[in-house]
């Protein structure tokens, strides 16, 4: 099934490709390279082959004139209960940079009900133009009316680049829109830049639980779509003197055409938005039981942070899944991550390894968490965490 072609007459058996394959799909058999089903056609091996013995099938190329009709950078502005998500402003900031590089305009898409204030904010955060779709049917996010509105706008105005936040709603929406438009979508990007030679958007994202990074392009389809992770790009400074064009657009679906209805929204006491949190205090197996989260919560409260948890504690039923950080939980990127009694399995590191400052508190000095931490205390979390809480209480009250 592997798509990689190996010219066995050219192959010298040097093994350079075997060493660079991120997927372990290549091996030397009788001193000749062989590929197996683990090959993902990523092309990492092509350039290292000194005799050009490796190749991938040619891809069709699109007519360049068709693509040139697509211009401008768009950002979808997510809102919940009339308040814009901070990730949307982060993306307007990055969208501004990309638009300036491409010498084009930045457009924000604001959908909701009674959200004119968000349209105005979008201009302050860098949009030159805002498509503002205001209707009771759009008050709460639903895939169908949101996706259909955006699809119609894209078909009419043809943007070159379209960015959405990699939030639950953003990922729900982007997948639907890109499928309908038949264009490429890269999920969960942590890097976006323009290739100065081809002018293509280079979209970099972690894969395989953060163990590898991949840079992805979409050369033959438009728009180039990406969802972007929380807190990857700097929050821009709002400039309320900026001028921009706000264009009111009619929704494309009426309420009776929409199959879904949001009937309720449950926010639990102490529920935390891990994705947005600047500070997260997390507990692992070392907390010992549900009551072991008490000192963790107290420290989080003093710091104004959120409570995270390792998979082991969630699986044991000590804390709800919504708190889980890591590969099968949430990926977070706070300014400060304090890991208490967390050993630091690969899956946990995948979810928090890009935090700005990491603190590890663990009894075991050999725990892998210390290898990614900036600061550490080897000790019993039940002594260290309350002591830290006391210190911050004193120092922050001053």
């Amino acid at each position: 099934m592997a798509l990689l072609e190996i010219n066995k007459d050219e192959c010298t058996g040097c093994g350079a490709c075997v060493d660079v394959c991120p997927f372990g799909a290549l091996s030397l058999v009788d001193n000749i390279a062989e590929v197996d089903d683990k090959c993902t056609a990523c092309g990492a091996c092509l350039d290292v082959c000194p005799v050009n013995a490796l190749s991938l099938p040619e891809r069709p190329t699109a007519a360049a004139e068709g693509l040139a009709a697509y211009q401008g950078v768009w950002v979808w502005v997510e809102q919940f209960r009339g308040e814009a998500a901070s990730i949307s402003w982060e993306m307007l900031g990055q969208g501004r940079r990309l638009a300036d590089q491409r010498k084009t305009i930045l457009t924000a898409c604001v959908l909701g009900y009674n959200v004119e204030h968000i349209a105005k904010q979008a201009v302050a955060y860098g949009a030159d133009r805002v498509f503002w779709v205001d209707d009771p049917s759009l008050a709460v996010y639903r895939t169908q009316p949101y996706a259909n509105t955006l699809v119609t706008l894209v078909q009419q105005y043809k943007p070159e680049i379209f960015l959405l936040g990699a939030s639950s709603r953003g990922r729900d929406l982007a997948g639907s829109v890109a499928t309908e438009l038949y264009t490429g979508l890269t999920a969960d990007c942590t890097g976006l830049d323009i290739d100065p030679e081809t002018n293509l958007l280079r979209q970099t994202r972690p894969a395989f639980g953060g163990n590898i990074m991949a840079t992805i392009i979409c050369p033959n389809y438009r728009p180039q779509m990406a969802t972007v992770r929380h807190r990857v790009f700097e929050m821009p400074v709002a400039d309320h003197t900026r001028q921009g064009q706000i264009i009111s657009i009619k929704p494309v679906m009426s309420e009776d055409e929409i199959a879904t209805r949001v009937v309720d929204f449950l926010v639990e006491q102490g529920e935390v938005n891990l994705a947005d949190a600047k500070i997260i205090v997390s507990g692992g197996r070392g907390v010992g039981g549900p009551e072991g989260f008490k000192p963790i919560r107290e420290l989080a409260e003093v710091l104004g942070g959120a409570v995270g948890a390792s998979r082991a504690t969630v699986d044991a039923g000590w804390i709800p899944y919504a708190h889980q950080v890591g590969q099968t939980g949430r990926t977070v990127r706070p300014d400060l991550y304090i890991a208490c009694g967390i050993s630091g399995a690969v899956q946990h590191l995948a979810g928090m390894g890009t935090s700005k400052v990491i603190v590890a508190i663990n009894k075991d000095p050999e725990a892998p968490i210390f290898s990614v931490a900036d600061y550490g205390i080897v000790g019993d979390l039940f002594q260290v965490v309350p002591a830290l809480t006391e210190q911050f209480k004193k120092k922050l009250r001053k």
Binding site: G24, D37, T40, G43, P57, P60, F80, Q144, S167, R171, G175, S176, A178, T179, E180, T183, G184, L185, A187, P206, A207, F208, G209, N211, I212, M213, A214, T215, I216, I217, N220, A259, T260, R261, V262, V263, D264, F265, L266, V267, E268, L274, L303, Y321, Q327, T328, L336, A345, Q347, G353, V357, V359, A360, F370, V372, A373, D374, Y375, V384, Q391
Partner: protein, 266 residues
């Protein structure tokens, strides 16, 4: 109730080790498993069948070895399984994967509910579920945490979705695609009888020519809008851990608190 579960075979990342010298992944000897989120989808499918009757069909696209994942799903209790395997499908991105799976689902005939895991742990995109819903033109309910109510007569379904701010309760009408998160259930283990059944079962393998719409330009590498141009190791965190030593816990805590305040992250 016709229930379809889409699953993916993935390398077990809990077994992945990093080569300390080169910093690359060691994938030798890494076992393949059913994507963990998909096991919740299978379990939810089996529970719906137990409640409403009908059958559970599992579909996977992948190399021939993905058959093992399907056999495991059958051992858990799935009634039927289909493997989509063809050189024409190789190199598929999420668009082409959703297209191919939705073609297979159409060929299966009637369906009431399609279940997927919220994302696969190797690609982590979460895009295939919404892609299938769009291709089939039916509702999508992503990040489902609980099926609250399902009325087989009126075909109304009410679910709770796990979002950043809390849980959203949404109602729609079947057919629909549901992508599920981990907390929805506790997947069962395969039974002895199930394993015997799975061993004997002849699972059909469908290629591009077996699907209803055989536009080869939409399959595999050819049909995939995105291209990977570079794969590299993530930058390592720089520097070493500053292990705080002190005579007492309080002193250590005080030193750490000062250092964190100096970092200006609080």
């Amino acid at each position: 109730m016709n229930i379809i579960v889409c699953i993916k075979q993935v390398p077990d990342t809990t077994e992945v080790k990093i080569n300390p010298e080169t910093g690359t992944l060691i994938r030798e000897g890494v076992p393949s498993i059913i994507n963990p989120f998909d096991t919740y989808a299978i379990e939810e499918g089996l529970r719906l069948k137990e409640q409403f009757g009908g059958k559970v069909t599992v579909i996977s696209m992948g190399p021939p070895q993905a058959m093992e994942a399907l056999k495991e799903a059958v051992a858990m209790g799935a009634d039927e399984a289909i493997l989509l395997s063809d050189k024409a499908f190789a190199g598929s991105d999420t668009w082409a994967t959703a297209y191919t799976l939705s073609q297979a689902i159409k060929k299966c005939g009637g369906f009431d509910i399609i279940l997927c895991g919220k994302q696969a742990i190797d690609g982590d995109t979460g895009q295939v579920g919404p892609g299938i819903a769009r291709q089939l033109g039916i509702s999508q309910l992503t990040y489902v945490f609980k099926i609250r109510k399902l009325d087989s007569e009126s075909r109304a379904i009410v679910v709770e979705r796990l979002l950043e701010e809390g849980r959203e309760v949404v109602e729609t009408t079947l057919p629909a695609v549901l992508t599920v998160v981990k907390d929805i259930n506790q997947p069962r283990y395969p039974t002895f009888l199930g394993i015997r059944r799975a061993t004997k079962m002849q699972i059909p393998v469908w290629g591009a020519a077996d699907l209803p719409e055989t536009d080869s330009n939409k399959f595999g590498l050819k049909g995939s809008p995105t291209q990977v141009v570079r794969v590299f190791n993530p930058p390592k965190r720089e520097g070493k851990v500053d292990l705080i030593q002190a005579n007492s816990v309080d002193e250590a805590a005080a030193i750490l608190a000062d250092k964190l305040l100096a970092e200006k992250v609080i």
